[in-house]
C-alpha cells in the first residue's frame, strides 16, 4: 500500500479545507455578513446576505470536522446578522449591502432559507422556526397555479430554471413546519421546470439572462435543486432530467480531464474555453450525491477530477503576492474568464469547501 501517497492526498485535502474555510472566515465583517467577493487591488465588496446564508452550514460542517471553534463562532455571527436583517414579511433583499436598487428577492431569500433549514437540522434550534416559517410562506405566497413566481425575480418576470434551488429550500421548510401548502407550491415549481428539459438534456432557461449561454454555475444550481428535491420528496419524477444532465456533465468533464467548459448553450454544447470554477465545484457535489444514490464510482472519480482542477488552477504566485487571496477561489480560470471576471467570489470558496468535505469523507471511507 502506498501509504505516503495516501497521506499526501489526505493531508492536501485537509489543508485545502482549512485554507478555504479560513478565507471564508476572513470574508466576514464585524457586523456579521460575509462579503460577496474580493477583487485584487480594489478590495472587498459589500456583505452578501444570499451567500452568507448558505455559507453557514458549510462552516458548521467544517467546524464539526475540525473541531475548530472559530468556525462555530463564524456560523453564529452569520446567523445573527441574517436574522437581524430579515424583513418582517420574511424576505431578504437582493444584492449585497453596497448594491443599489435592492428588491425583495426570491432567489436570495431561498438561499438564506436553505442555510437556516440546514442549521435547524444540525442544531435543532427552535428559535429558527419563525424565520424559516416567515420566509417559506413568503416564497410560497408568490407562486401561482402554474408554478411561476409572480414577483421577486432579478429580471422582470423571468423565472429561470435554477429556481429548482428555490423549490428545494421551500421543501426543507415545508417538511420542517409540516406545511403542505409550501410543499405543494414547491412541487408546482419543480414540475413546471422539469417540463423545460429539451432533447439534449439541457433544461431551458437555466441561464442568468434568457437566451444567452448558461454558466455551469447556474446549470449546477438547476441540477442540484432537482437532486435534493427528489431526495426530500422521495420522488422519481425528476430522474430522467437528472440523469441526462449528470451524463452530459460527466462526459464533458471526462473529455476535458476535469476542466469542464464554463458555459453551455441550450443544445448542451460548450460555448467557452474558460472554466467556471464555482460550477466545477457545484457539479462535483452533484456527482457525489448521485453516487450516493446509484453507487457508480465513476461519478466520484469525475467529482475528484473537478475538484483537482480547481486546486491545480490556483496560482501560488498570486496567493503569495496578495495574502487576501490565500484560500480564495477565483470565478474563472483563466482569471479573466467571463464568470465573475477578475474576482474571488465567496460562493466559489463555499462550494469548493463543500466539495472538499465530501471528498474528505470519501477518502476516509474508502482509503483509511
Amino acid at each position: 500500500m502506498k501509504q505516503n501517497e495516501l497521506q499526501s492526498i489526505k493531508g492536501l485535502c485537509e489543508q485545502e479545507i482549512n485554507t478555504t474555510a479560513n478565507w471564508l472566515v476572513r470574508s466576514i465583517t464585524m457586523s456579521g455578513g460575509s462579503r460577496a467577493s474580493y477583487t485584487p487591488f480594489i478590495g472587498w465588496s459589500g456583505e452578501y446576505p444570499e451567500t452568507s446564508g448558505y455559507i453557514m452550514p458549510t462552516l458548521y460542517k467544517t467546524a464539526e470536522l475540525t473541531g475548530d471553534q472559530k468556525y462555530f463562532k463564524a456560523t453564529k455571527v452569520l446567523m445573527d446578522w441574517l436574522l437581524s436583517i430579515q424583513n418582517e414579511q420574511g424576505y431578504w433583499l437582493s444584492g449585497h449591502e453596497k448594491s443599489k436598487n435592492r428588491i425583495p428577492s426570491v432567489f436570495n431569500t431561498a438561499q438564506i432559507l436553505l442555510g437556516l433549514s440546514s442549521m435547524f437540522h444540525y442544531t435543532g434550534d427552535e428559535s429558527l422556526l419563525d424565520p424559516i416559517c416567515n420566509s417559506g410562506r413568503w416564497l410560497s405566497s408568490l407562486v401561482d397555479l402554474n408554478g411561476i413566481f409572480t414577483a421577486g425575480s432579478y429580471q422582470g418576470s423571468y423565472n429561470p430554471s435554477y429556481y429548482t434551488r428555490v423549490a428545494w429550500p421551500m421543501l426543507e421548510a415545508g417538511f420542517i413546519l409540516d406545511d403542505k401548502r409550501i410543499i405543494d407550491k414547491a412541487t408546482k415549481v419543480l414540475s413546471r421546470i422539469n417540463n423545460l428539459r429539451n432533447s439534449s438534456g439541457y433544461v431551458d432557461k437555466s441561464e442568468f439572462i434568457e437566451g444567452q449561454s448558461a454558466f455551469t454555475h447556474t446549470i449546477a444550481y438547476t441540477l442540484r435543486g432537482f437532486i435534493e428535491s427528489a431526495r426530500i420528496l422521495n420522488s422519481n419524477d425528476y430522474d430522467i432530467t437528472i440523469d441526462k444532465m449528470i451524463n452530459k456533465l460527466y462526459v464533458f468533464t471526462g473529455k476535458n480531464r476535469g476542466a469542464l467548459p464554463g458555459e453551455f448553450n441550450s443544445n448542451f454544447e460548450p460555448t467557452s474555453n474558460y472554466v467556471c470554477l464555482t460550477g466545477n465545484a457545484q457539479v462535483a457535489i452533484c456527482m457525489f450525491h448521485m453516487y450516493e444514490k446509484c453507487g457508480d464510482l465513476r461519478l466520484v472519480d469525475c467529482a475528484v477530477k473537478l475538484i483537482d482542477t480547481i486546486q491545480n488552477k490556483k496560482s501560488k504566485i498570486i496567493q503569495r503576492m496578495l495574502p487576501n487571496t490565500r484560500g480564495a477561489i477565483a470565478g474563472s480560470s483563466p482569471f479573466l474568464g467571463r464568470y465573475m471576471r477578475g474576482r474571488f467570489p465567496n460562493w466559489a470558496a463555499k462550494f469548493y469547501l463543500d466539495a472538499l468535505l465530501l471528498k474528505n469523507d470519501f477518502i476516509n471511507q474508502e482509503l483509511c
Partner: protein, 259 residues
C-alpha cells in the same frame, strides 16, 4: 494465410513488439506497420491547450521514450523472451520485409492510401490515436482492437482498472472499431486471471497480454461471441484520477491478501 497491418503509437512499444512477434509465430503475415509519430508540433500544441503545462511535462516525458511504468513485470518478462533478432520494430520490418507508413496522425490520407494499397484482411490496432469516421469510411479493411474490458459494460480508458472497481469480470474484448469508442461488434471475449495481482500496473499487464492472446485467437479461429441486439451502452470510462488509482491498488492488494 491471414494478413494484417498493425498500427503502432510508439516506435519503442514493447507491447507492439510482443504482439508482432506472436502474430508471426502463429503464422499470421504482418504486411506492414502504420507508425504514428507522436512527438510532433501540432500534437504538442493541441495537448498544451487542452491540458495545460504541468500535464504536458509528464506527457512529454512519456512520448520521448517507451511507457516505462507499463513495462515492468509480466510484459518485461515476455519481452525478454523475444529473440534479439526481432526485439525492435526496425529489426522486424527488415527481417520480414514489412511495408511501413509513418504519419503524424492515424487519420491522414497517407494512412488511408497505405491501408487500401495493401488490402490486408485486418488492421490490428496497437496504439496511435482514434480513427475518425472519415478514415473508417475511406478504408477497405476492418480494424480490430483488443479492449481491456467487457463491452458494452466498461468502455473507454483504464478499462482493466475500471472493470475491477466496478465489479465486472476481468476479461478482454476483441472488437471491430466503428465510429464510436468501444462500440463495435465484439468478436472474442477472453477472461484473464487476477489472483494474487500485486498492483494496477500488474493488472494492466495481465489484461494487455490477454488482449494479445485474444487477438491471436480471433485471427486463428474466428469469433467466439454471440452478440446481442439492442445493447444498452453504459457510462463511458475516463482516465482515472490519481486518487482512484490509489484506491484500485488498495483494493487489489486486499483482494490478493498481500501483506
Amino acid at each position: 494465410m491471414t494478413r494484417v497491418l498493425i498500427t503502432v503509437g510508439n516506435y519503442n512499444s514493447k507491447a507492439a513488439i510482443i504482439l508482432i512477434n506472436e502474430l508471426i509465430e502463429a503464422g499470421v503475415k504482418v504486411d506492414g506497420l502504420i507508425v504514428i509519430r507522436r512527438l510532433n508540433v501540432k500534437r504538442i500544441f493541441q495537448m498544451s491547450r487542452s491540458y495545460g503545462l504541468s500535464f504536458m511535462k509528464s506527457k512529454l516525458l512519456s512520448l520521448l521514450g517507451p511507457g516505462k511504468r507499463a513495462e515492468i513485470g509480466l510484459v518485461e518478462k515476455r519481452f525478454k523472451e523475444i529473440s534479439t533478432r526481432t526485439n525492435t520494430l526496425g529489426k522486424l520490418i527488415k527481417l520480414h520485409n514489412m511495408s511501413v507508413c509513418k504519419a503524424n496522425t492515424l487519420n491522414s490520407s497517407s494512412v488511408v492510401k497505405f491501408i487500401n494499397s495493401l488490402n490486408s484482411h485486418y488492421v490490428v490496432y496497437s496504439g496511435g490515436g482514434i480513427f475518425s469516421k472519415f478514415t473508417l469510411d475511406g478504408i477497405n479493411t476492418p480494424v480490430i482492437n483488443a479492449h481491456l474490458g467487457k463491452i458494452p459494460n466498461v468502455r473507454g480508458m483504464n478499462a482493466a482498472e475500471w472493470s475491477f472497481l466496478l465489479g465486472q469480470k476481468p476479461l478482454v474484448s476483441v472488437h471491430i472499431i466503428d465510429y464510436g469508442i468501444d462500440t463495435g461488434k465484439v468478436l472474442v471475449e477472453q477472461e484473464y486471471n487476477i489472483n494474487n495481482v500485486k498492483s494496477v500496473l500488474d493488472l494492466r499487464e495481465r489484461a494487455l497480454l490477454a488482449g494479445i492472446s485474444a487477438t491471436l485467437y480471433f485471427l486463428a479461429h474466428g469469433e467466439n461471441c454471440s452478440n446481442k441486439d439492442n445493447i444498452t451502452f453504459t457510462r463511458h470510462c475516463y482516465v482515472m484520477s490519481s486518487l482512484f488509482t490509489l484506491m484500485c491498488n488498495k483494493r487489489l492488494r486486499e483482494k490478493g491478501k498481500i501483506l
